[in-house]
């Protein structure tokens, strides 16, 4: 299922080919930058003790997940010297010779009720120690989700950080009929690996700025379906949606507060783009910014006490912070002549944003250190935008252009690994990484 032979040696180009799935709208992963220092792991194929074949190769999914973090590199299957499926079959010496640090073995059995039980175990090879031994119940239908869950468990055991393999991404695709003005916009939700995508809304008018509710059950987004901008909220499980705002002018940049009770947004109802907070319980609207320049793209601090936003008040877009209790404003970004659409890292130490240096040139994704004020550039294609941070802070998904085609890119926040998620057709933009689903 995976051909990852050259994945970690050169650190460049196309390494992993996930077998094309039957869902065409899925995004296919293309690794563009690998990590030479990734820790070698071996994920042995899980033994299937049942009739017929399984819909998913669980070990292969775990390998792909761990490799995609850049922290680990899963040994290609053909390099595995033996195929143990439980602790008693593990010969540590074999794996030491392969210079593997960690080993995962497992088996899947069919239960009488038709469900499946996956048993898996994680070993530290040099210390010859079991780090994790668990079993989970799955069905043929959710085998993929279970593989992501197991990946999360292994990742957390090894790094101390929660995994993001069970999270989702929302994004917009645009298709244009020839060179006509006939566009089709779609809002999709897919697994974090770009697979299992489903369309949750289709429109002939622009869709943008999807924002997850903190419980990951709803999306707020901007739709032009009424002929002008409006913010809508849609429940993912039921598809039920309603129009949240219908103000004159801009109705944009929805950003759900960490407590889920408010949505920060941009409105120009008072004549100019300003940041507001919409209180979902009593539909109260509080105005946050007051400046004749553009103020937009608000994002909440992890503690919900302040907002960061883009403002044109210095003459070009720069990132500012406003304390919601005191109203005190502070400019955060100083390096470069275009800094916009800021998003906090979950620990609040960095702000990820679209950045262009003083000399002009590329629009990159950059990390702004809140302590030092220094800017660190993470992506290097010409037109990168819309950074969205994974809930564990390890990865950022963003939009980039390859030629005239929009694709999604992912870069680790340490900059060590980068991959792309191109769609089969159309432009992909405006990604939003979901919070944890559980």
């Amino acid at each position: 299922m995976i051909n990852a032979r050259h994945f970690f040696t050169t650190g460049l180009m196309l390494l992993m080919l996930l077998l094309s799935s039957f869902v065409n709208a899925d995004l296919t992963i293309r690794i563009t930058k690998g990590n030479d220092q990734a820790i070698p792991v071996a994920i042995v194929p899980f033994m299937w003790q049942g009739k017929g074949s399984l819909s998913e190769d669980v070990a292969s999914l775990i390998s792909a997940n761990l490799s995609r973090t850049g922290l680990f590199r899963a040994l290609p299957r053909e390099d595995l010297v033996s195929l143990p499926t439980k602790a008693e079959e593990v010969v540590y010496r074999d794996w030491r010779l392969l210079k593997v640090n960690y080993l995962v073995v497992g088996s899947i059995e069919a239960l009488e009720d038709g469900n499946l039980r996956i048993k898996y175990q994680l070993f530290e090879v040099n210390q010859q120690k079991s780090l994790l031994s668990e079993s989970v119940v799955a069905s043929q239908d959710n085998l993929r989700n279970r593989a992501h869950f197991i990946s999360d468990r292994i990742y957390e055991r090894l790094t101390g950080q929660k995994g993001i393999f069970s999270t989702r991404i929302a994004y917009i695709t645009t298709q244009q009929k020839g060179k006509t003005m006939d566009y089709t916009y779609r809002l999709h939700v897919a697994d974090a690996d770009g697979q299992e995508s489903r369309t949750i809304l289709t429109s002939k008018q622009p869709l943008l700025s999807p924002s997850w509710s903190p419980d990951a059950k709803k999306l707020a987004y901007v739709s032009f379906e009424t002929g002008r901008q409006a913010i809508f909220v849609q429940e993912l499980a039921t598809g039920k949606r309603y129009q949240l705002t219908n103000f004159k002018g801009l109705n944009g940049s929805p950003a759900w507060s960490p407590d889920g009770k408010k949505i920060a947004m941009t409105l120009s109802r008072d004549g100019n783009a300003e940041v507001y907070i919409y209180h979902l319980d009593d539909r109260r609207l509080t105005r946050v910014t007051h400046h004749y320049a553009i103020d937009t793209e608000p994002s909440w601090s992890p503690d919900g006490k302040s907002l960061i936003f883009t403002s044109g008040r210095s003459g070009g877009p720069q990132v500012y912070q406003i304390d919601l209790a005191s109203g005190e404003e502070k400019r955060l970004s100083f390096e470069g002549n275009y800094n916009a659409r800021p998003r906090y890292s979950p620990n609040g130490r960095e702000v990820f944003m679209v950045h262009r240096g003083s000399g002009g040139g590329l629009f990159s994704i950059a990390a702004l250190n809140m302590g030092t004020g220094r800017t660190r550039i993470l992506s290097t294609s010409p037109l990168d935008e819309s950074p969205s941070v994974a809930p564990n802070g390890a990865m950022i998904i963003y939009a980039l252009m390859i030629g005239e085609k929009g694709v999604l890119g992912v870069v680790s926040t340490d900059g060590r690994i980068q991959y792309e998620l191109p769609a089969a057709s159309g432009n992909v933009r405006e990604p939003a990484w979901s919070p944890y689903l559980n």
């Binding site: 060179k179 003005m181 566009y183 622009p206 943008l208 700025s209 032009f224 002929g227 002008r228 901008q229 002018g249 801009l250 944009g252 940049s253 941009t266 120009s268 100019n272 783009a273 004749y292 320049a293 553009i294 937009t296 793209e297 883009t310 044109g312 008040r313 210095s314 003459g315 070009g316 877009p317 002549n337 275009y338 916009a340 659409r341 679209v354 262009r356 003083s358 002009g360 629009f363 010409p382 037109l383 935008e385 819309s386 252009m401 005239e404 933009r429 405006e430």
Partner: protein
């Protein structure tokens, strides 16, 4: 004479751009634009400061002088990168629309603001609106009734031209009159 008339209109529009806060864009030390024309526009805005005092009363006269009531052929005007001030070369186009709208009080127009694809989508929506607002303010100043005008911004969502050349970009930074 003709020239004089125009220069007053130019100055007045520039003042309004300045009052609306677009002057801040032109004033910045962090110039982001890559268009040569922008420097010229910035200078015009600066030099128009003294016109502020005399501007208002003259505006009515200017508009009265225009008698053309045919729907103008040109319905798109263009902007510099990250800017929303109206370039002087488009005052004639706008005056034509103003005359038409005043002669036809029942006509309404959507002013659709657009940007090029560079920069962030939401900032560009705000920038597109700002461009629409600049046109709206200019037209109102000429005497067009506010109820005839509506600004809708599409930001970078609806480019007129595909491609990543500076020429394509310059054609996408625009306000379209949609009657």
């Amino acid at each position: 004479m003709e020239l004089m008339k125009h220069s007053k209109v130019f100055a007045l529009a520039a003042v309004f751009a300045l009052v609306a806060g677009c002057g801040g864009d032109a004033n910045t030390q962090e110039e982001v634009a890559d268009e040569i024309t922008e420097e010229v526009v910035a200078e015009e805005v600066h030099s128009s400061d003294e016109a502020l005092a005399e501007g208002m009363s003259d505006a009515e006269d200017q508009v009265d002088a225009v008698t053309d009531t045919v729907l103008p052929a040109i319905n798109t005007i263009y902007f510099d990168f990250d800017k929303s001030n109206i370039r002087s070369e488009f005052y004639d186009v706008l005056n034509g629309h103003a005359a038409y709208l005043m002669a036809n009080p029942s006509a309404t127009v959507k002013l659709e603001g657009h940007t090029d694809e560079r920069g962030t989508p939401e900032y560009n929506l705000a920038l597109g609106e700002r461009r629409g607002n600049s046109v709206q303010r200019y037209l109102s100043l000429q005497g067009v009734d506010a109820s005839q005008l509506e600004v809708v911004s599409y930001g970078e969502e609806r480019p007129a031209v595909r491609g990543q050349s500076s020429e394509a970009y310059s054609k996408n930074r625009r306000v379209e009159f949609n009657y």
